[in-house]
Structures are given as C-alpha cells and as structure tokens.
Amino acid sequence: MPEKPWGAAGEGGVKAEARLGEILLVFTSLGMASFGGGLPGWMHREVVVRRGWMTDEAFLAGVALGQVLPGPNSINLALYIGQQLRGLPGAGMAFLGILGPPFLFILGLALAYRWGAGLTGLAVVLGGVAAAGLANSLAVAWRSGSRMRGLWPWIVVVAVFLAVGVLRWPMIPVVLVVVPISIALAWWAGRADG
C-alpha cells in the first residue's frame, strides 16, 4: 500500500467532519471569488490545504468527474465536494454557496448596464483579475503534480494537456481513452510498489 498524502484519510478520502453551515460559508466565499477560471484552485486551497476536509486524490477525482459529466465544471466540483462531505444537504449548501453570489452579481451588472454604465473599464480590470484567478489553477496543478510518484503520471498529464489544450481535440473521447489507461498504470504501479 503506498503512503497516503495529506495525512491519514478516513472513509472515502473524506478526512474531517465538516458542518453544513461551514460548507455554506466556504462555498459562498468561493462563489464571490470565482472570477475567471481558477475555481478548482480556489476550492483545492480551501477544502484540501486549509481545512483538510478531503485528500488530494479524492479532490482530483472530483475534478475529473466534474469535467466529464454535463454541467459547468465549477458547479459540478462544488456539488461533488459537498456530497462527499455531508451527502445531499452538503451538496445543497455547496451549490447555493458557489452559484448564489455570481447569480446576484451578474443581475446587478445587467442592471448597471441597463442604466447605461460603461462596462469596458470594468471588463479590463476583471480581465486582469481573471488572469490572477488562473494562477490558482496553475498552483494546484503544480502542487498536485509534485506529489505524484513515478514517470507515468507525467506522461498522462502531458498527453491530456497536448490533446485537449494544444491540439483542441474534443475532451470527452480523449478522457474516455486516457482514463482506463491511466487507471491501469496506477494499478500496475501500485503492484510494483509492493
């Protein structure tokens, strides 16, 4: 059995008992911070690094699941985390938290737009903030990547990045092909470890 990252995991990669109110609070602040595309990074920081609610691997499984299933990735990941922590009520809290603030914000923005306020200046600033948000994603990729053992995970990382990011192949078929291979490699590596 390989050693467990992030300390000892409890059942199903869930480590600490999270209260429902706490889940709502955490995801509301995440929802307010969700400029651009860095949300997996934000969630990883709050849920795995700071609160230790979940293992790194359970979190990343949620990232992959949320991307493959229909629906926005960030909302899927929030639902997954809430559900793994506290079942349906946990998922409900995470959903309200992650979607509520941007929902109200965007209606406010539409109101401002209707009243004739200029959006271009705001868009420039928000564009910069979005780039900063992406830094969160890079940071989580770096942290998770540095925790992977062996060469095979890196080959998988590069293959997926090239296929989906650079070559712009459709994600679903790529994932459907790569995931079984990657799981087989993980199984094989686990046996080789002892």
Partner: protein, 179 residues
C-alpha cells in the same frame, strides 16, 4: 407569466444535459432559442449579455440567468438557472452518490490515482484555453506567472487578486491599457 417561466425551464433543461464542459458547447443553441424561436431578446442584446457574462464571476453559462431576467424578470432568471443547472446536477449527484458508497475501497484508491494525472492535464489545458479565449497578451502572461509564483510561496489569493485589480485599475486610469 407562469407560461413564460415554464417555457424558460423547458428551453434550458434539455440544454443542461448536453452542456459538456460548461457554457461554450451550448451558447449557439441558447442564442437560437432565445432570439429566433422565442424572441425574448434581440441579437444585439444577446451579444451584450454575452459580454456581461464574460466579465462577471461564475460560470459563463450564467448568461442563461440574464436571458431569463430579460424574458421574465427575477423569477425568470431563477427559472432559467434551475432549468440549466438542475438536470446536470442530478446526474452528478447520482454518480457521486455511487462513488461515495464505495468508501475507501482499494478499487476506489486505484481509480483515484489514475484520475489524478488526467485531472491535472485537464486543469492545464483549461488554463491555456481560457488564456487564448481572452486574447491574452504579454501583460496577462506576466500577471499569471507572477501570481502563480506568489501563490506557491504562500500568498493569500484574495490579496493577490486585490493587488492585481488595483494595478490594472491604475494602469487603465493612466491610459496605459485599452478600454
């Protein structure tokens, strides 16, 4: 009014299940339904709403809430959001519930170890895609690089974003940025 709320639900609920990877895959059909089929908004309004949804936080598919808002006010926005996020959320919860019942089995651990590098690859691909979609120039790449370094050294992301927002606002005020 009730009819219009129902219509919003019925337009967005099927789109929910084909919204793979979030918004971009369904924008075209949203536009067709909202503009051509139902006439809730004009083509020009759709472009503006799209710009607003790009600038705002949250998933790009929140443009559905804006369409609902234009069509039927606040409850229209709620109906559109429920339609667009309800069905896909149910699918995720069914799969997630099954996953949760696996507990800490060895099978699950192997699957998680196999999924981890795929997720990292997808995250990196997502960063590249978003940078290209935003037409990022040297300033965005420099921002991204500096912020990543700061975060890896333990800086608070809230502080990082605040600093970036202030710097961009200052640059724009000094007319060094377009906009």
């Amino acid at each position: 009014m009730a009819e219009r709320l129902l219509a919003l639900l019925l337009v967005f609920a099927p789109l929910s299940l084909v919204s793979l990877g979030g918004g971009p895959s369904i924008f075209a059909e949203m536009q067709r339904q909202a503009v051509e089929v139902h006439g809730w908004i004009t083509p020009r309004e759709f472009v503006d709403l799209f710009a607003i949804s790009r600038a705002a936080p949250g998933p790009g598919s929140l443009i559905s809430a804006l369409i609902g808002w234009q069509a039927a006010g606040f409850w229209g926005a709620v109906a559109a959001a429920i339609g667009l996020y309800g069905p896909s959320s149910c699918v995720l919860l069914v799969v997630g519930g099954w996953w949760r019942r696996r507990g800490d089995s060895p099978v699950r651990r192997v699957i998680e170890r196999g999924l981890a590098p795929v997720a990292v690859g997808l995250i990196l691909a997502g960063v590249l895609t978003l940078l290209q979609a935003d037409g990022a120039g040297w300033l965005e790449f420099a921002t991204l690089g500096l912020c990543t370094l700061a975060l890896l050294r333990g800086a608070s992301p809230y502080l990082v974003m605040l600093v970036v927002a202030l710097v961009y606002a200052a640059l724009q005020h000094a007319a060094l940025l377009p906009g």
